[in-house]
Structure formats: C-alpha cells, structure tokens
C-alpha cells in the first residue's frame, strides 16, 4: 500500500507544483483580505454600540492588519 506521505516525498518543486502553490496562496490571501476588511467595518459598528476610549486604537490595529494583508498579497504577486 502506498503511504500517503510518500506521495509528497522526493518531489522536486516543478513549474506545475509552484503554480498550484501560488494559486492557492493568492486565493487564500484574497479571501483573507476580504475578511480583514469586514473586521475593519465591524469594529466601526462595535465601537458605536459600546463606546470606550480604545475604539481608535482597535481601528488602528484593524487597519494595520488589513494593510499588512494587502502588502502580503502584493508581495505574493511580485515575488512568486
């Protein structure tokens, strides 16, 4: 019986494999980018519902998070 793990053994990173990895990475990053944007919008709603002095800080962190995802996505497009 062929061991499932052996399927990936001794595999050289061929062009097809790299393309598949790239596609998966870009697709996941795009999906996650949308999620990060939803988080950004949701914090707006949350901070209007329950108002504290830290709403600005949360929004800043959410924006930094979203921009980092965008940066990773752009880096993927350039580097991969």
């Amino acid at each position: 019986m062929i061991n499932f793990l052996e399927l990936f053994s001794n595999t050289t990173a061929s062009g097809g494999l790299l393309l598949a990895v790239k596609a998966v990475l870009l697709f996941t990053e795009a999906l996650y980018g949308m999620f990060a944007f939803v988080v950004l919008r949701q914090i707006d709603l949350m901070s209007k519902t329950f108002k504290t002095d830290y709403a600005g800080f949360f929004k800043f962190v959410a924006l930094a998070h979203f921009l980092t995802v965008v940066a990773v996505f752009l880096l993927s497009l350039i580097l991969l």
Binding site: L5, F8, S9, N10, T11, T12, A13, L18, V21, K22, L25, T28, E29, Y32, F35, A36, V38, V39, Q42, I43, L45, M46, K48, T49, F50, K51, T52, D53, Y54, F58, V61, A62, H65, T68, V69, V72, L75, S76, L79, L80
Partner: protein, 191 residues
C-alpha cells in the same frame, strides 16, 4: 485601562453605549470570565508553533516537498500564516471585549456579537425586572467562581441571560437592589 482586561468592572470610566440617556450612568460592566478565553488562547499558541512543528515533521519523515520550494514561497507562506494568526488573536479578543453586559441606573443591556457578522442588542428596564436567578454549575465554574444570571422581565423581552460571568451572585444582588430602588423599594446593595 481596566476596561481592556477586566471581566467585572463597577463604575467604568469613559464608557458609554449607543442610545444612552443623558441622566443614565453605567454601574456595572460584565463580560465572560477570563477562563472562557483559554480555548482561543491555546489555539493561538498552537498556531504560533505550527509552522515549526510541520517543518520538523516533514524533515523527520523525509518529505522534501517544503524544502524544495523556493525561498520566496517559504517567506510568503510564513508571513501570511503569522498575519492570519494575529488576525485570529485580534478578532477573538474583540469578540470577548465587545460581548458585554451593562447594568445602568435605568436598564440592563446585553450586547452580543457573534463571529463578527452578527449583532444583537437586548435591553430590559429595571422596573420590568421580575425574577432573578444565578447559577453556578460544573467543576470549572465552581473552581473559578463564575456562572450565569437569568433575568426574567415583564417587558416585551421575556428573558435576559448573562452567561459565564464572574461573581454571578454579586451581579444578581446589584441588579436586584437597583430594580428595587427603581420600583421605590430603596434597598441598596452591600459592597
């Protein structure tokens, strides 16, 4: 600052809510007990160490798939994984922070956010409070002294529930006394 990490806070400073009246004051802010955060915190630790663990397992099993990838692919996948880990920690914390129960001098409010896409804002006026019950059940709740408070009301919303909150007996006492004062009883809770 306390509001950032306290699950039970009396007279919170610089906190208000949507629709708060001018003569209204938040008396109590309650969230789920800290112990309820253990699950996502442990998950975050696992996520943090997962790339190292997976890489080690691949090497030990002689699988060269990951090692054969160019450095740029490894860098991007690592960077993305840690952004994802950070996002998980951040949203889990926000969910805990904004799922809050408020007791004011006029009403009881239950703000509920689920998974960042669902919001529920429930309120009951203190003069409508009819029956209060607190419950501590299970070894973990007894050990860490947390539980639930059920609030029966005469209003449109028949029941409010504060789940897994610290000091449920004290919360029940505070609400009971405030309801009594609102209805003209004038009893005050013991600190």
């Amino acid at each position: 600052m306390k509001i950032l990490y306290c699950s039970y806070l009396e007279d919170p400073e610089h906190a208000s809510f949507e629709g708060e009246d001018k003569d209204e004051k938040i008396i109590l802010t309650v969230r789920k007990h800290h112990i309820t955060n253990t699950k996502w915190m442990m998950m975050a630790v696992v996520m943090f160490y997962l790339p190292t663990l997976v890489r080690t397992l691949l090497v030990l099993n002689g699988i060269t798939f990951y090692a054969d990838l160019p450095a740029s692919y490894k860098f991007i996948s690592f960077a993305f994984w840690y952004v994802l880990t950070f996002g998980y920690i951040f949203t889990s914390y926000l969910t805990w922070f904004y799922n809050v129960h408020l007791v004011t001098n006029k009403r009881i409010i239950d703000i509920d956010f689920q998974g960042l896409i669902h919001r529920r804002f429930s309120e009951a006026f203190l003069f409508n409070v009819e029956d209060l019950t607190h419950q501590i059940s299970g070894a973990l709740q007894i050990l860490f002294h947390y539980g639930s408070v059920h609030i029966q009301t005469a209003g449109e919303l028949r029941e409010l529930e504060f789940e897994k909150i610290p000091q449920p007996a004290k919360v029940q006492d505070i609400i009971s006394d405030l309801a009594s004062i609102t209805k003209g009883g004038g009893r005050k809770h013991n600190d």
